[in-house]
Amino acid sequence: MRLKLSAEVIKGDLVERVAELSGQNLSACYQCGRCSAGCPVVEEMDIVPSEVIRLLQLGQVEPVLDSETIWICASCLQCASRCPRGVEFSSICDALRAIVLRKRLSGSVVDADEVTRTMVSDAPQMGVVGALRKLNG
């Protein structure tokens, strides 16, 4: 990917918003990759966790907001547990999802009507409520 970088892009408002909402110091990451190595769902992601953080360090929020990755994270916090720099990738994902869901920028990845029709009689309530809160807003 070719990127045109400038101080304004790197220090853009949206990046600041991600840092604030997630409570994470994005610049603390030194790209060791332990978050990506330990993530149980990394194989399904289009941008792996350490790459997401690198893109954010470079002010590239849009491609991250458009990624599948942010909807695949299951908030298991394995990344946070293993990060030597104390960065919680799961929290960054929650912040990115919140930015999309609060603005209703795109259709939700989980349809509440569909879920209540197909899952409620079978799956544990905690799974249904958890998915709707994390993925439907």
Binding site: E20, P40, V41, L77, Q125, M126, G127, G130, L132
Partner: protein
């Protein structure tokens, strides 16, 4: 001895077997789980965004309900434990959110009457949130459980699966080591099982992703089941109804896609405790398991 108990929605609706077995075991160990007079869903997931006060209110409200009964509350579901414990920490450590949450709870309680008018004073985190396994260790004591164990479980190879929510984030959950936890191993040793250590005991089962994309949860759960299987486990124990669902139900898919797949029963740790304590199988209810543990237990003369 009475201890306030918060079941949560899943144990009230779907994981009735877990609720029933856990109450029976507590009774056998001289503990009465006193269900909160009123309670609601805790919200299932703790918000990881820093500005969310609304998303912790359900958890805080339940803690305020619990504070009317005593200084601690016991729960079993990993999600409930995670949410209640983290929400409680917010109420203890974050003055700004504590004030906002209390203002909301006060308005809520003023609009209600009788039992539902619950907030007598500000909630400041005065209740300790305990997981049932912590209650067994710290209130009952594993030594007492060892003495009360009637069944001979030696030779039964049990893999303790922790999952995510009990352990992480470590600095807030303060439950056990997030990579090498020991509490379930100590419990299993107390009831006389052969403990199977396996590397994926703290790996995610896929969690709520089952609702979005089943294949994701199948892949995650298969990693866990295979890991326990390769280490020779006869049975996996868990304390999370969603982990139980993913690891057990999804073996339907695994057995279709993997040649020579060996099915492993996945049961709640209190169902195994019930067997150890000699509680009647009917009370432990194994009817909801996809992989039926009863043939294995019968083979070991445990049912």
């Amino acid at each position: 001895m009475k201890i306030p108990y918060y079941p949560g929605c899943t144990l009230h609706e779907r994981a009735l077997d877990f609720d029933k077995a856990s109450r029976e075991c507590a009774r056998a160990l001289d503990i009465e789980l006193e269900e909160l007079e009123i309670w609601t869903c805790c919200g299932a997931v703790f918000p990881l965004t820093t500005d969310s006060v609304m998303d912790i209110l359900a958890g805080v409200r339940n803690l305020a309900y619990a504070s009317r009964l005593g200084d601690k509350v016991v729960t079993l579901c990993s999600f409930c434990y995670n949410v209640l414990k983290r929400a409680n920490k917010v109420m203890r450590d974050d003055p700004e959110k504590r004030e906002k949450a209390n203002l909301f709870l006060k308005a809520d309680t003023d609009a209600r009457e009788g039992i539902e008018s619950y907030l007598k004073e500000d909630y400041t985190g005065q209740v300790d949130v305990l997981h049932y396994i912590e209650m067994l260790r710290d209130v009952v004591g594993f030594d007492k459980i060892r003495e009360r164990t009637k069944a001979d479980l030696s030779g039964l190879k049990v893999a303790p699966y922790y999952g995510c929510m009990l352990l992480r984030p470590k600095k807030e959950m303060e439950f056990d080591d997030p990579e090498q936890p020991q509490i379930f191993e100590d419990f299993l040793e107390a009831i006389g099982c052969d403990v199977v250590d396996f590397p994926m005991k703290t790996e995610c089962c896929g969690g709520f992703q089952i609702v979005r994309e089943e294949d994701t949860a199948v892949a995650c759960s298969q990693t866990v089941v295979n890991s326990a299987s390769r280490r020779g486990a006869d049975v996996i124990i868990t304390t999370c109804p969603l982990c139980r669902y993913n690891l057990d139900e999804l073996q339907k898919k695994m057995e279709k896609s993997v040649t020579g797949f060996r099915k492993i029963p996945v049961i709640y740790f209190t169902q195994l405790l019930g067997i150890a304590l000699g509680i009647d199988e009917e009370c432990l209810d194994f009817s909801d398991n996809y992989v039926d543990p009863r043939p294995l237990l019968a083979e070991k003369s445990l049912v």
